[in-house]
């Protein structure tokens, strides 16, 4: 593939994916409301048209076919209104639409992975067509006047078009002028420029060259909602070359309908105008006020990463220049002034660069709607998903990596959390409909995402017994606190459901979730009350690139500890130390005992304090690990730009020793960023 096709393909994938995502959201909302609004129908129709057009251009036939048939289906619905469908049909329609969405998405995934598309789509197409026929039949019985494939007036048979617009214009091109389809399309474009709303048949003149014979034989049909539109179109026709004849034909079916229900027509015309605009995606955003055109561009994420890296460099270099030792003790008024200005500008630049990567979590949250919907049906549980704070914004990398964990937690809640039997809920005095609340909120430097259900809660005794059977316990059962028991759930190989269900319970569950969350520097915790429900909380950093850190020094070397991990720092004397049986140091803090890790010993450093009274103790915490570290001194708080270690060093498994990356300080020196969770593991392995 050459470059043009590549970038076309990229645009196609991006566009189609975002359309499908929007459609999904619409479908979910519509299903909740029980019906499609006029706006929904138009939007679906419009999106399908766009997908059809672009996939035809790139020759993805199965995508084109599926979207084409959905478009047909919605054309019918648009013409007849959702009210023509009874409840059963509506629910069938929703199921069919969800299935189609999945189908389209699968195809897109295949295109992304450059796999061949499934050529055998006849079954699926038949399913859509079958449904269309069914509702048509029902519709015909009810409203005899509306018909889908009526050939209006005295047109020759063989041309199929579906409209009930009252004014039809049949245009014949000069015989043997050739390329009738392109001429028709140019005509359409010319009419669009006049801001006329109309439909035209055959619809696929732009993409299908076969239509030229049809047009040559039967003419090109333009359908107008009003006589004025038709008349101004005729004026355009008069100025177009190669047109042989044209004829204005009143649409018989529509005339009849307006006679029988004159009040209805007025009502129907307005959606038609909007709908007709919907057939031309380019014009749609201009004519529908609700879709104000936003000027957006899509940028490759790696470019943003590079930008962020350069901005980080600038911030560091700036402080190197300003804090340059040559400038100390020299009074330079103008320099200081400019330096302050520069600092302000670099701060702004950093903020803007950061904000480029920030997106809202709504895309992830909306996906959960779909999961809850599907599971609701399969598990036969009545659950509503409440979403709070979906506008909360986080770094793109974080949003991408929390999608799977959240999905897993929601599935767990649906599967294990919510009671299987409604009677159980009623007995416990709860609503028959269970609720899962998905919340996101900002708290200063982090974002907190929680998944809460009002189900049966977790049975700590059962968890403990199960963990015991699985041999996961490291101390006697009675010594486990509630919090510790709940964190057992996140150990590898733990799953409370003895039966493996379709959705969860494969034994790889929360441990993977925890790993994913911790990989991006987050913390996961579970709280639960038996009978009342459970809540899983994720604490995530806002961004991975910049960390609020505390600079500490040990033997002249500088380290950075993320502020988020620090609970407290305090002085201690040698008398405060308690030794356990194997000689490990323990200290009491806030009425609890914590082990002490001396970083100097852990990292086998030459220099550094050994006397506890000289240095300072820091109480740190990461996920379920809470302990104290001994360092020489605190230097101060600083925002640092995280740099990963060069890949060569991964040969030495450097991450496992409790360091997660490094950062360049204002004076050009390197500070190592400590990873509180892994440091403790490393210390335990060592001693």
């Amino acid at each position: 593939m050459d470059n043009t096709t590549d970038s076309l393909l990229e645009t196609f994938l991006f566009e189609t994916n975002s359309l499908l995502e929007q459609l999904d959201e619409r479908l979910i909302n519509a299903e909740k409301a029980g019906s499609f609004t006029e706006d929904d129908v138009n939007e679906i129709f419009r999106s399908m048209h766009t997908i059809k057009g672009s996939s035809a251009m790139l020759e993805f036939h199965s995508l084109m076919e599926v979207s084409h048939h959905i478009e047909d289906l919605f054309f019918y619905i648009r013409e007849n209104g959702m009210d023509a469908l009874d409840d059963e049909q509506k629910s069938d329609l929703f199921d069919l639409m969800f299935k189609s969405m999945d189908r389209l998405r699968d195809d897109i995934v295949r295109v992304e992975n450059s796999q061949p598309l499934d050529a055998d789509i006849t079954d699926f197409i038949n399913e859509i067509n079958g449904f269309l026929k069914r509702i048509q039949k029902a519709g015909e019985a009810g409203v005899s006047a509306s018909s889908l494939t009526a050939s209006g007036g005295n047109l020759s048979p063989g041309i199929q078009y579906k409209t009930d617009a009252p004014y039809l214009l049949q245009v014949f091109f000069e015989p043997d002028c050739g390329m009738e389809n392109l001429r028709s399309f140019m005509l359409v474009t010319a009419l669009e420029e006049k801001d006329l709303s109309f439909q035209f048949f055959p619809e696929d003149v732009e993409t299908n060259s076969q239509t030229k014979t049809i047009i040559a034989e039967n003419g090109f049909i333009l359908a107008f909602a009003s006589q004025e539109d038709a008349e101004s179109a005729i004026r355009v026709l008069k100025n177009t070359s190669n047109i042989h004849t044209y004829e204005l034909i009143p649409n018989a079916t529509e005339a009849q309908k307006s006679e029988t229900s004159p009040t209805d027509t007025e009502h129907e015309k307005s959606p038609q105008t909007a709908a007709a605009a919907g057939t031309q995606p380019s014009g749609a955003s201009a004519t529908l006020p609700s879709h104000a055109k936003q000027s957006l561009i899509s940028v490759n994420l790696s470019k943003l990463d590079k930008l962020m890296a350069v901005v980080g460099e600038i911030v560091i270099t700036e402080s190197m220049v300003i804090a340059s030792p040559e400038l100390q003790n020299v009074k330079l008024d103008n320099f200081l002034k400019s330096a302050r200005q520069l600092r302000k500008l670099t701060d702004d630049l950093q903020d803007i660069a950061m904000s480029l990567r920030i997106v809202s979590v709504s895309s992830v949250f909306q996906k959960m709607n779909r999961i809850v919907r599907d599971m609701k049906k399969t598990l036969n549980k009545d659950v509503r998903l409440t979403i709070i704070g979906e506008d909360t914004e986080v770094d793109k990398t974080i949003v991408d990596s929390i999608s799977d964990p959240i999905m897993h937690i929601v599935r767990n809640s649906m599967d294990h959390g919510i009671e299987d039997d409604v009677q159980d809920r009623l007995d416990a005095g709860k609503d028959a409909q269970a609720e899962i609340i998905l919340t996101a909120k900002h708290t200063g430097s982090e974002v907190i995402i929680s998944v809460e259900d009002d189900g049966k809660g977790m049975d700590t005794a059962a968890i403990l017994a199960k963990a015991n059977r699985a041999g996961l316990l490291t101390k006697p059962e009675e010594e486990y606190s509630r919090k510790e028991i709940l964190s057992l759930l996140m150990l590898p190989g733990f799953s409370t459901n003895s039966e493996v269900t379709e959705f969860s319970g494969r034994g790889v569950g929360l441990d993977v979730v925890r790993k994913n969350v911790e990989a991006i520097g987050g913390v996961i915790s579970i709280t639960s009350e038996k009978g009342k429900g459970s809540c899983t909380t994720l604490k995530l950093p806002l961004t991975l690139a910049i960390v609020d850190g505390m600079e500490i020094s040990i033997g002249g070397n500088i380290f950075t500890i993320p502020i988020a991990n620090i609970r407290q720092s305090f002085k201690a004397t040698n008398e405060d130390i308690i030794l356990d049986a194997s000689g490990h140091e323990i200290i009491k803090c806030m009425d609890e005992f914590f082990p002490i890790v001396r970083i100097r010993d852990l990292f086998q450093m030459q220099d550094g304090f050994t006397d506890l009274s000289e240095g300072i103790i820091m109480w740190v915490e990461a996920s379920d690990k809470s302990y104290c570290i001994f360092v020489d001194q605190l230097i101060g708080e600083q925002q640092v730009v995280v740099k990963p270690f060069p890949p060569y060093l991964n040969n030495f498994n450097i991450k496992r020793s409790g360091i997660s990356g490094c950062t360049v300080l204002g004076d050009g020196n390197i500070s190592i960023i400590l990873d509180v969770a892994n440091m403790y593991t490393a210390a335990q392995e060592m001693f």
Binding site: Q604, L649, S657, G668
Partner: protein
């Protein structure tokens, strides 16, 4: 016809000679292809890293890039020598991985006819080297096997 033959001939000769940077470490002379050399720096502040083999001296900040630094003496199992003013760090790029090596001193860049190089006798084989060659002035140059360096 004859013109192209001459050109081909020249290319052949050029292919055989390559530019090498020579340096010393523990009194041995090493050569590394200039294709792999990015730059030579002196007097750099090395930040030690915990829990790595002793030959990894740490990382340096080379204009914002974090680059690991390896001590050639320690890597070859020789005793450590305090760094002096002639100690250099040669920054190499091997398969787009950058690494610095600490050497006792840098000698020069010279054209070496690689076709004269011979494999190192198996019993005398040094780690990290693959070929050896004696120069006109009698010094023996060991060629650094760059891939072996980044193999940890």
């Amino acid at each position: 016809m004859s013109d192209t033959a001459v050109v081909n001939n020249i290319e052949e000769v050029q292919e055989e000679t390559a530019r090498f940077l020579t340096f010393t470490s523990d009194n041995l002379v090493f050569g590394v292809s200039t294709d792999n050399v990015i730059e030579i720096i002196t007097n750099y502040m090395i930040r030690p890293l915990p829990m790595v083999p002793d030959y990894i001296r740490g990382v340096i900040n080379l204009r914002g890039q974090i680059i690991p630094v390896m001590d050639m003496r320690l890597r070859l199992g020789k005793p450590f020598m305090e760094y002096t003013s002639s100690t250099c760090i040669i920054i190499l790029e091997i398969d787009s991985i950058r690494i610095g090596i600490v050497v006792d001193s840098v000698l020069q860049v010279q054209n070496i006819n690689t076709s004269l190089a011979s494999p190192i006798p198996i019993e005398n084989r040094q780690e990290l080297t693959n070929f050896m060659l004696s120069l006109d002035d009698g010094t023996v140059v060991l060629f650094l096997d760059c891939e072996a360096i980044i193999r940890a």
